[in-house]
Symmetry: C2
């Protein structure tokens, strides 16, 4: 059966979103068609508004409608710490966890030589400039634990070498609430390597 | 952290789609912002086009840009069979499986007295009119196997009582490719009740 062309076109567009397969796209479009017209009008309007109002923050790369963004401007934030993340999505995730009070820097991508993906040189220049000119004491690398994350950590560490800052990364280990029996081999290995000592025997060094 | 308002608004709109939680909505919106402007422009345009061009087929309720829809107009379709479905989504699923060559009728909802959901009386009138006026021989009820589906089947069967048509429903049983050990109790019971005889013993009736 050939779907109506307009329907098919809209399904194809929704399918391009991450995590949306054909079935979900179809369901979303059919839902859209069943809503009152006002819903799709505000959707279209809101998309246009986002496009015209939002842009990356010139200092950290966060998505914002002002420049610098509200995080960079916040006087209560610890300006001596910068957390480097891959994407704005990761920034929002950390931010919404409410566990961090420093500033951020969004790389935009990870270094992945196999996929021919490089981090845009200007972004790295901006990072170096910011770390050397501002009163930064520590740079925290918060990349997802995978090959590209490790490669990017190496790259950033090398770049930070000549600068007088501490560089750290998020710890790897068992996810809290997870179970040992469901952990994969690599996570178990990381958790063992980075084990925390509870008591040290003194007689048997 | 307060997200930019336009961003927050768009995330809230995406969250209203079925199956889209906060994380998915956020990811979709951030994806949208990273695409070239042409993507969001065609998205907004396509939504508007769907709204103005598409409407339910006056005969079967399928979503279409012509009237009657391409299924109702198809001369190669078996006009003596009507498959009654809950939603356009179900219609498309059956249609894309390529297993059925008759016509359809979309109810729009199931009968669910506990949720105060009734099937629109005009829809039922249209159904009766269609079955009595056209050369329909069989009506196949293809509702999801749940309480509302059963209630709707009873309702439609009663309505079809005075009309000279066969009424059938999809069979219940083990999903093909599934396993007995993963089947729930109700499915197993249905599969046992509707078992297919492979050989009948004749001596021991």
């Amino acid at each position: 059966m050939a779907l109506a062309k307009a329907l098919e076109d809209l399904i194809r567009l929704f399918e391009r979103f991450p995590g949306i397969g054909e079935k979900s796209a179809r369901r979303m479009v059919l839902f859209l068609l069943q809503q009152p017209k006002s819903f799709s009008e505000s959707l279209a309007e809101c998309i246009a508004k986002c496009n015209s109002l939002l842009h990356p923050c010139s200092r950290c790369g966060n998505i914002t409608d002002e420049d610098p963004c509200s995080i960079c401007c916040d006087p209560f934030r610890d300006k001596s710490t910068i957390c480097i993340v891959e994407s704005v999505e990761d920034l929002i995730t950390i931010e919404q966890a409410g566990i961090y009070n420093g500033l951020y820097f969004v790389l935009g991508s990870l270094y992945s030589p196999l996929d021919d993906e490089e981090i845009v040189p200007q972004v790295l220049e901006r990072l170096v400039k910011r770390v050397s000119e501002e009163e930064v004491k520590e740079v925290i690398l918060a990349f997802s634990p995978k090959v590209e994350g490790e490669l990017t950590m190496n790259l950033i560490s090398k770049i930070m070498e000549p600068l007088p800052v501490t560089v750290s990364r998020l710890s790897y280990g068992l996810p809290v609430g997870g179970s040992v029996s469901f952990a994969d081999r690599t996570t178990l290995h990381a958790a063992l390597e980075a084990r925390t000592y509870i008591k040290r025997g003194e007689g048997r060094q």
